[in-house]
Structure formats: structure tokens, C-alpha cells
């Protein structure tokens, strides 16, 4: 600067330094802005991929969510009712719970169950159902559950109540009326969870029967030997053997009776909870105490589920991005050629 005044020259030097520092900061800010733009774009793509993945039902998230929904419903800690759950009274919406195939009505060439299959199929059926019932209706619904059990020629095995707003019952009903009983129970409230299990014990039953026949034959032989025994020693030896065989026969017959009873009568766990009950009833067999290990496991599963969902979404996005890139390239080529043509 061409001036004799030193103050102005010093001020100029200060301004130059300030401008240089600001210019450097401007470059840094521009770089940071570019980085932020890229980060934003990547985050946008990930979120978009996640959304698409979730919509496509990909990854483990859908399964995880459904599993979590079921688990929370079973534990009675809220969550949406299962998808197959009908509203009370809409029995038609229920899935067919009968595991044995039925012949279509009015079909002459229908496949019917053979007597052999009917006799030999030994299936132990169990079920559980958790119901949310209107406030103040617990006592009435509790009595209705007992009435339904009796109407199906069953009985209440055990019951438990918590206060006057929630409780659970275990009922046993003949297998023939298992499905009908479940349908009636579902109509008592809004099902929050429902499970039906069937355990095939046919092999076990057949084994017991075969073993019993062998033992009975052996007992007949031993009885014959007993009558032919001439000495005291022979008599004692045969009798000991006979006692052992009889004991085994008794045990097997006991097991067969137990299996018959299990097959003949099904067990249903019923949980009733009023809509605004403070504490939920835990179904028999469920774990009540929280576990850090399970929480960690669920956290890892959740992380993997989100990751898998994003990957699925990217799978949808990549071909779209390729098509968009090709289209963009075509547009650019056309635009580049246009001035040459004109």
C-alpha cells in the first residue's frame, strides 16, 4: 500500500493475515461440507435400503418382529395379537386345528380314515391360550371357562388367580372335543397368544404293546412250568422268574394306561387377563425372571436383523441404480451430441 502513514500499513498487514486465515477456513469448511454431503448421501441410501428391505419383508427383521410379538404375547406384556386371532365370536376365522385330514363334505370318493389308522394313531394334544377380557368380567369369564370344560365332558385340573382381574386355569377335556373347546375359549375374549402342540406317541405305544405280548407269553410258559415242577428248588426258581415277569407286565400296563389317558384327554392352559390389569399372568412353563444373557442375545439378533434388512434393500436398489446410471449416461450423451448436430 502506497502511504506514509504507518498505522494504515500495519492495519493492511493485519487484514491480509486475517483474509488468509479466513480463506484457509473457507477451504476447510468447504471440505467438511463435501464430507457432510457424502455422509448424508450414504446415510440416505442406507435408510432407503432399510425401508425397502423392511417393505420387502427381507432379512431377519420380519421374522424377528413376529417372534418378538409372539413372545411378548405369550408373556402377556402387550404386543399385537397374533395374525390368526379372530375377534370374539368370529369362529369362522379360526384355522382348522384338527391335525387329521378330513374328507370333503358330500364327496363320494373321499379319503376316509381307516380303522387301523384310527386305532394305532396315538397323539397327545396340548394347547394354551391367553385371553384379554373386558375390565370387570374376570369372575364371569372364569366361571365360563369351567362351564366350557364341563360341557366338553372335561374338568379343571388346576387354577390360579391373581387379585380379581387375572388368573389361569389348566383344564383337561376329551381329545374329541379339544378343537371345539378351544374355539369356545377363544370366543371369551381377545386372544393375545395361542399355541397347539401334538406329540405322536404311537411308536412308544406299539413298543409297549409288543413287549407286553412277549411278557404275557412268557408268563403263560412259566405258569405251565410251575405246574410241572417236581422239586421245591424248581418251584422256587420258576416262581421268582414268574414274579419278575409279572412286575414288568404291571409296569408296562401302567405306562399303557397313562398313554391312553394322555391320548384320550387333552390339556389346555387358559390365561385370563382383564384389559387394564396391573400384572400379567405368566403361563405355566414360561420363564418369569429377566435374563441379561437373553437380552444380549436378542440385541445381537436385532443388530443382525437390521443389517440383513439393509442388505436386502440394497439388493433392490442396486439394479435400480444401474438403470438410473444408464439412463443418465444416455441423457448426457444426447446432450453432448446435440450442439454438434445443430
Amino acid at each position: 500500500m502506497d502511504t506514509e502513514i504507518r498505522f494504515l500499513r500495519d492495519l493492511e498487514d493485519d487484514l491480509v493475515r486475517l483474509a488468509e486465515a479466513d480463506a484457509a477456513r473457507t477451504v476447510t469448511r468447504a471440505r467438511h461440507r463435501r464430507h457432510r454431503t457424502w455422509l448424508g448421501a450414504v446415510a440416505g441410501v442406507v435408510v432407503l435400503a432399510f425401508g425397502i428391505g423392511a417393505l420387502a419383508g427381507g432379512g431377519l427383521l420380519g421374522q424377528q418382529g413376529r417372534a418378538a410379538g409372539q413372545a411378548s404375547a405369550v408373556l402377556g406384556i402387550g404386543g399385537a395379537p397374533d395374525r390368526g386371532a379372530p375377534v370374539p365370536g368370529s369362529i369362522k376365522a379360526l384355522p382348522d386345528l384338527d391335525p387329521v385330514p378330513r374328507a370333503p363334505a358330500g364327496s363320494g370318493s373321499a379319503v376316509t380314515r381307516t380303522p387301523l389308522l384310527t386305532d394305532l394313531s396315538k397323539i397327545v394334544r396340548n394347547g394354551s391360550i391367553a385371553l384379554t377380557i373386558p375390565d370387570g368380567s374376570f369372575d364371569a369369564r372364569f366361571a365360563q371357562v369351567i362351564a366350557i370344560a364341563r360341557a366338553g365332558r372335561g374338568f379343571v385340573l388346576s387354577s390360579q388367580t391373581e387379585g380379581s382381574s387375572s388368573g389361569s386355569l389348566t383344564i383337561r377335556v376329551p381329545s374329541a372335543s379339544f378343537d371345539r373347546t378351544l374355539v369356545r375359549l377363544r370366543a371369551l375374549g381377545v386372544p393375545t397368544s395361542s399355541t397347539v402342540t401334538g406329540k405322536d406317541v404311537t411308536n412308544q405305544y406299539v413298543d409297549y404293546r409288543a413287549h407286553l405280548q412277549v411278557l404275557e407269553s412268557r408268563r403263560a410258559v412259566l405258569l405251565q412250568l410251575m405246574t410241572e415242577a417236581t422239586t421245591i428248588g424248581e418251584t422256587i426258581a420258576v416262581e421268582n422268574e414268574l414274579n419278575d415277569v409279572q412286575l414288568q407286565i404291571d409296569q408296562i400296563e401302567g405306562n399303557l394306561r397313562f398313554l391312553d389317558d394322555q391320548v384320550a384327554k387333552a390339556t389346555i392352559d387358559v390365561s385370563l387377563t382383564e384389559q387394564h390389569a396391573r400384572s400379567a399372568v405368566v403361563l405355566p412353563g414360561d420363564i418369569e425372571n429377566p435374563s441379561l444373557g437373553r437380552a444380549l442375545q436378542r440385541a445381537v439378533q436385532g443388530f443382525l436383523a437390521v443389517l440383513a434388512t439393509v442388505v436386502v434393500g440394497l439388493g433392490y436398489l442396486v439394479p435400480v441404480a444401474i438403470l438410473a446410471g444408464v439412463a443418465l449416461l444416455a441423457v448426457m450423451l444426447v446432450r453432448r451430441r446435440r450442439p454438434v448436430a445443430t
Binding site: L8, L11, V16, L18
Partner: protein
């Protein structure tokens, strides 16, 4: 030599701060003269110049090219600073602090050079009358320096004080004088901005 206009330089300075320095180079001395003629005080004039450029630098992103030369925008800020100076009697330093401009004292040799920028001839009569309102030491210093036009070493010798003290008395006297003249509506400048 940068051939861009002041307006172009101010607009460019948003992304290119160095362009503002060129505006400063073009107008710093004129602005100092502008302030010196109105305040009659070299220290205040220098400080006002620095504060005006600091304010302009800090708010350069708000500059809009309305067709007028960019220098009008600069003098708009200068008038604002001058008004505040006459109202409060001191120069604000907020803009310099905001942009981180270090405070600088006015070098001794600059006092006379800045006073040289002021043309006292048109206001000499008014000055003589206003001198009577000043304290004795400042009045005597101003009489020797402004009326008799003696150099500072001689003023200091006549006042029996150091040259720095003589400059301070003259500076304070001029600042007070400018305020008195401002209150009485006497223009300290020959031209109208």
C-alpha cells in the same frame, strides 16, 4: 493491478477474503482523512478507520450490489461509526474484537501526517473561538500547534513537557474541540460527503 470495481471486489470477498484487502488499499487513506477532518483527532480518526473496515469485513456477506459503487456502502458504515463516536465520545471496538483484529497504538510519527490530512484553514476562526472553552493546558497546546503551526518538538519545549505529552494534549484538545464545534453546528470540512 486488480481491475475489478469496488462492488465486484466486495462481492468476490465473500469466497475470496483477499479481495477485501484491495478495497482497503484503495480507500483506507481517504477514509482516514474523512475521519480526521471531522474529529480533528488523529487517534480517534485512526481508530474509526480501523473499526469501519473491521465492520465492513465482518458484514461483507450482507453487501448487495444495488448499482451504486461499493464505496458508498463503505462510507455508510463510516457515517454510522462517526455518529456513535460523537454521541458517546469514544470509538467502539466491537467489530475489531469480532473478527480478531489486534489493537494497535498510533505511532508517534503518524500524528503529524494525519493532522496534515486536515485542512484547518476553513475553520481557523471557529477554532479560535472554541479554544476558549478548553482547559488551560490543552488550549495552550492547540494554540501553539494549530494556530501558530509549530512542530511538536517546539510545542513540547514551549510547554516544558515531553513530546509525547504534547501530542496527547493536542490530541485531547482537538477531540474536545471537534465535539464543541459539532454541537454548535460548525462544519469542520470544506467539502460535503
Amino acid at each position: 493491478v486488480d481491475e475489478r470495481t469496488d462492488a465486484q471486489l466486495l462481492l468476490a470477498s465473500r469466497a475470496e477474503p483477499a479481495a477485501f484487502v484491495e478495497v482497503y488499499r484503495r480507500h483506507a487513506e481517504d477514509l482516514l482523512r474523512y475521519f480526521a477532518r471531522r474529529t480533528l483527532d488523529p487517534e480517534a480518526a485512526a481508530e474509526l478507520t480501523a473499526e469501519t473496515f473491521a465492520e465492513a469485513y465482518a458484514s461483507r456477506r450482507t453487501y448487495r450490489d444495488t448499482g451504486a459503487n461499493g464505496v458508498a456502502w463503505l462510507y455508510g458504515i463510516a457515517r454510522h461509526q462517526l455518529g456513535r463516536f460523537f454521541r458517546s465520545g469514544r470509538v467502539d471496538a466491537a467489530a475489531r474484537r469480532k473478527i480478531g483484529l489486534p489493537p494497535t497504538d498510533l505511532p508517534l510519527e503518524d500524528y503529524e501526517r494525519i493532522e496534515d490530512l486536515v485542512d484547518f484553514a476553513p475553520i481557523r476562526a471557529a477554532l479560535a473561538e472554541a479554544l476558549t472553552t478548553l482547559p488551560g493546558d490543552q488550549r495552550e497546546a492547540l494554540r501553539l500547534r494549530v494556530i501558530d503551526a509549530l512542530p511538536y518538538p517546539e510545542v513540547a519545549e514551549r510547554l516544558h513537557c515531553a513530546e509525547t505529552a504534547a501530542r496527547q494534549r493536542v490530541s485531547r484538545g482537538l477531540r474536545r474541540l471537534a465535539l464543541v464545534l459539532q454541537e454548535e453546528g460548525v462544519s469542520t470540512t470544506a467539502e460535503v460527503e
